[in-house]
Amino acid sequence: MATPPNRQPILSVENLRTYFHTPDGLAKAVDGVSYHVHPGETLGVVGESGCGKSVAALSILRLIPTPPGEIVSGDIRFNNQNLLNLSTRRLRGIRGRRISMIFQEPMTSLNPVFTIGYQLSRVFSLHNRLSKKAARRRALEMLAACDIPSPERIMTSFPHELSGGMRQRAMIAMALGCRPDVLIADEPTTALDVTIQAQIMALMLRLKEQFGMAMILITHDLGIIAGSAQRVVVMYAGEKVEEAPVAGLFHHAAHPYTAALIQSLPVLGRRETFLKEIKGMVPPPHQDIPGCKFADRCHEAVDACRRRRPQLKEIEPGHLVACIRRTDS
């Protein structure tokens, strides 16, 4: 499970800061986040709504609407180039081709007025300079690879004619058709029912193996992370608070937030009278907090936590945590 040290990450995000200028003030949606993913690896990024996990992912491909958003600083390293310095033209050669993305709601990602076949073939012909015929053939192949029954019929269907699960399969077919090196999946199964969710996760993991891709899997669902990621990054209020191999995270969660999050889940077959709750709520993104952003909800917080921002430190090989209660003793 541990990655050999000499292996180069295929994609790395370094000290990324993405801010939004809002009427309420400056919202530091992503505030100094770093993570990386190795070839063939699945990195899970987990956190609750507003923690910045999606904004960080969108920043990778520079899909942040500017204004109000702005990537203030950081490096996005992919194949020895910094994506943040690339010309739009060169970036277009990477977006959707070398690094692909799938989103939560397939209905809003697909164009409602074009057939699935047209949308898929167009992506392939643009990116791979395929002829119309070859692009169509690739689209059919990809739909079949995504377990879509009777792909010929789906090619001529419009997005609204498909079920949520089928739409997400079509999105996956589109995202993987150019054989990207990295797939960013942002809550890919959140909008789906559990039985369909299981189908889609199984499909994604199978295709990831088959194509040897790296995957960044962004979700709020710790269950999905446990079943598919090798390494996990936990985000809270725009910051990375913990990073660990998946087993280490679930068995020895170090950050009080991670531990509380895992314990707050209702677990099947283990009924207790009350769930363990995390009191309070996430601080608003434009609030300037000098110390640890979780301190007000943390039952282990001391005065020092509120004075300065905790630094990430390695407590085990590959296991990083930003909490002075764990690292300074």
Binding site: V194, Q197, A198, A226, L265, V267, L268, R271
Partner: protein, 323 residues
């Protein structure tokens, strides 16, 4: 259980589809098809199923927010489905609803005091002073600072709004709360807060819940008994400890294995159901689940299975299950 609080008896709700042509026959979606169950006093009954299975329609039919096509709903022995307006109004004092989306279910132009106090106003309960006192009490009960009474809904977070929705329901001291996916729009850390609040309130006020959700883990936690719905039918009912330990219907079994476990050492998914939910306007013959069922045989196509008892309080509707 002596007299149940709610008795749902062969309830059906069919929605008419638009005719596709002048001489074509009108088609119907059988959102709920012959559903029966009881909810005891102080009992929490969980209704679980995937989207489109009819669980919300059952909840709405019980409160007569939709008119059932056939069947009866009894509240304390009286047939709700034939209530006239004044009776219906009294009934709804005792039976209330919490909705899924706390952003859509609170009026943005009303203050917190107006929102929470409105049920009292509608039912003409108490003087202005008494109502105010009641509002303060329920707000404190759900953990909202009564000092915020003059604020508007948009000033609160999702979890707080859901608390406000619960407070609004509590003002009337209802006997039954229909909670339709009350925590699915919330973040995990907030979800636990609301689930705990609901568990506490039920015990404190001796209320019954119809808890509608797609999340078996949450339902197992909060419900005393659980019914699993598929395509308008209840396929299995059992006490909640049993539904997890001894699920008998193949759909329940598949549903349980499909839930991702927050445990990296958990065995990976064993049975992944194939295919999609059938079109509810053209349901399969026989058993509704047979098109996706790994154990289906010819008999399942030929005839719909009947509900059979497989244990105390445990009922399954499946040809392949022996009593």
């Amino acid at each position: 259980m002596n007299q149940p609080l709610i008795k749902v008896d062969h309830l059906s709700k069919h929605f008419a589809l638009k005719k596709s042509g002048l001489f074509k026959e009108r088609r119907y979606v059988r959102a709920v098809d012959d559903v029966s169950f009881l909810i005891g006093r102080g009992e929490s009954f969980g209704l679980v199923g995937e989207s489109g299975c009819g669980k919300t329609t059952v909840g709405r039919s019980i409160l007569r927010l939709t008119e059932p096509t056939a069947g009866r709903v009894e509240f304390e022995g009286r047939d709700v489905t034939h209530f006239k307006r004044p009776q219906l109004k009294t009934y709804r004092r005792h039976a209330q609803m919490i909705f899924q989306d706390p952003f859509a279910s609170l009026n943005p132009r009303m203050t917190l005091a107006d929102i929470v106090g409105e049920p009292l106003l509608i039912h003409r309960i108490g003087s202005k002073k008494e109502r105010r006192r009641r509002i303060i009490t329920v707000l404190e009960t759900v953990g909202i600072d009564p000092g915020y009474m003059q604020r508007f809904a948009h000033e609160f977070s999702g979890g707080q709004r859901q608390r406000i929705g619960i407070a609004r329901v509590l003002t009337l001291n209802p006997k039954l709360i229909v909670a339709d996916e009350p925590v699915s729009a919330l973040d995990v850390s907030i979800q636990a807060q609301i689930v705990n609040l609901l568990v506490r309130l039920k015990d404190d006020f001796q209320m019954s819940y119809l808890f509608i959700s797609h999340d078996l883990a949450v339902v197992e936690h909060i419900a005393d008994r659980v019914a699993i719905m598929y395509l308008g039918h209840i396929v299995e009912t059992a006490p909640s400890e049993l539904i997890y330990k001894k699920p008998r219907h193949p759909y329940t079994q598949a549903l349980l294995t499909a839930i991702p476990r927050p445990d990296p050492d958990a065995p990976r998914q064993r049975t992944i159901l194939e295919g999609d939910l059938p079109n509810p306007a053209q349901p399969p013959s026989g058993c509704p689940f047979r098109t996706r069922c790994p154990q289906a045989v010819d008999q399942c196509t030929a005839a719909a299975p009947a509900m059979t008892a497989v244990g105390p309080g445990h009922f399954v509707s499946c040809h392949r299950v022996d009593a």
